[in-house]
């Protein structure tokens, strides 16, 4: 069944207003760059608009947006001109939860140091709160792979933060 343009635009705008910030944070955790995160969100939401009638009917808007964003990021990272890694970044803002600028910078640096898929796995698991199965589905791999990638990611984060603790 088709969906008229006005209704589609209205429903889509409501979803965007409600979830765009969350999606942008997710994109930032994946790519560690706010501007690029906005680009990713825009691309994912444009694709979401195209598929809107179908996914609205299925009630999978959020999952579709998340998966599209994730794939956009991983696809872009595969391209040679996107393989550069940002090594220095000015602190963005004060962080909540009693963490200082330095701590926030350390956190970002630690997250940024993770390989793409490990980072995606750990972000999906611990920030988005997905189960192992859901994470595996999003990343198109087995649950075992997610377990190992998550474990390695946590080890690397632990090591990076411990190093910061020692040097700090």
């Amino acid at each position: 069944m088709g969906m008229d343009g006005g209704r589609r635009a209205q429903e889509f705008s409501e979803f965007v207003s409600a979830r765009r910030r969350h999606l942008r944070r997710f994109a930032y955790l994946l790519c560690s760059d706010w501007h690029h995160a906005e680009d990713l969100v825009q691309t994912a939401l444009t694709k979401l608009y195209v598929a809107w009638p179908r996914i609205r009917q299925e009630g999978t808007e959020e999952a579709y947006a998340r998966q599209t964003l994730l794939r956009c990021h991983l696809d872009e990272r595969r391209r040679p001109w996107r393989r550069e890694s940002v090594t220095a970044e000015l602190p963005e803002s004060a962080l909540p939860g009693g963490l200082s600028f330095e701590d926030g910078d350390q956190l970002r640096a630690a997250i940024r140091s993770l390989p793409d898929r490990q980072r995606a796995a750990v972000v999906l698991r611990y920030w988005w709160g997905l189960s192992l199965e859901e994470t595996a589905q999003d990343l198109g791999c087995s649950v075992g792979t997610i377990k190992s990638q998550t474990s390695r990611a946590v080890d690397r984060l632990r090591a990076a933060l411990a190093e910061d603790l020692r040097t700090g």
Partner: protein
């Protein structure tokens, strides 16, 4: 400093909190404009529709081209025309055409697979059957399923006056299907470029008619193939100075009260004339001794 990190351990809760902290975007305005996003989305929808239309059109062309291999069984008199390459005037074509008859039908009512096999042989028509591939010229093939018993392939070269009719009768209970093929010169009235729109006329079934021989039923059809630009509604048969109107029964021309040619022994083939007319009374085929 996050106290949970002091012992070097990271729980899921720690990670969650870390990520929330790292991705905090308080005070950072959202740069994406809603209207711009909608405009992008609509553009993409339009582009997608255009792409789907183009792909659908391309697939349609592909299906038509592929249909020669999967003959539509349930729709009588369906025709398919495809471009093909083979030297039409090479006798090898007729040989290849005849190979279609080597497929033995599994039963009275043939299965689609049988026809596919038949046209698998027919497909070789499009391969170079000549030892001189350089002489290959573009050829057209049109297959026609007249009913569930017969398949006809008309092959012609738009740049020459020759055409080939291959007729495969799958209802025959013989060891092989009846196969008739002739290499004909198209009449001057036949425009080769429009041959795809012509109807293949098969009046070459040398099969005993299903009627009672005591009624004079000798042969259902007579010799010959032809192509006509319109549906034949009237057929006349003239032999020995006598012209008969050939009745059309279920789309077949049943010639009655004509002496069995086999009884003529060493007599030369009788001179006969077959004329076919369309609904407007126009002569669409004139098969007479002068143009044989």
């Amino acid at each position: 400093m996050n106290p949970d990190l002091k012992d070097g351990d990271l729980s899921g809760e720690d990670l969650s909190r870390m990520f929330r902290a790292a991705a905090d975007d308080s005070g950072r305005p959202f740069q994406i404009d809603d209207l711009d996003l909608l405009a992008r989305g609509r553009r993409r929808v339009r582009w997608r529709r255009r792409t789907i239309s183009a792909v659908a059109a391309a697939c349609g062309v592909g299906l038509v081209a592929a249909a020669v291999y999967v003959v539509p069984w349930n729709s009588p008199s369906e025709s398919t025309t495809v471009a093909a390459k083979a030297p039409l005037d090479n006798p090898g074509i007729v040989r290849e055409c005849a190979r279609m008859a080597e497929v033995r039908p599994p039963d009275v009512v043939p299965e689609p697979q049988t026809v596919w096999m038949a046209f698998h042989h027919g497909r070789r028509l499009r391969s170079p059957v000549s030892a001189e591939p350089d002489t290959i010229r573009p050829m057209r093939v049109r297959t026609t399923v007249t009913d569930q018993s017969g398949v006809t392939a008309l092959l012609w070269d738009p740049r020459s006056k020759a055409h080939v009719v291959c007729n495969l009768d799958l209802l025959t209970r013989e060891n092989a299907a009846t196969m008739l093929s002739t290499l004909d010169t198209s009449p001057s009235s036949v425009r080769q470029s429009e041959l795809a729109e012509y109807t293949t006329v098969d009046y070459a079934r040398s099969r005993p008619c299903r009627g009672d021989a005591r009624d004079g039923c000798a042969w259902e059809l007579w010799f010959g193939h032809g192509v006509v630009p319109a549906e034949v509604t009237r057929v006349t048969f003239a032999a020995a100075g006598e012209t008969q109107e050939v009745p059309i029964v279920d789309g077949r021309w049943v010639l009655r009260r004509f002496e069995d040619p086999a009884k003529q022994g060493d007599q030369p083939q009788p001179s006969y004339t077959i004329r076919m007319y369309d609904a407007r009374g126009r002569l669409v085929l004139d098969d007479n001794p002068n143009n044989r």
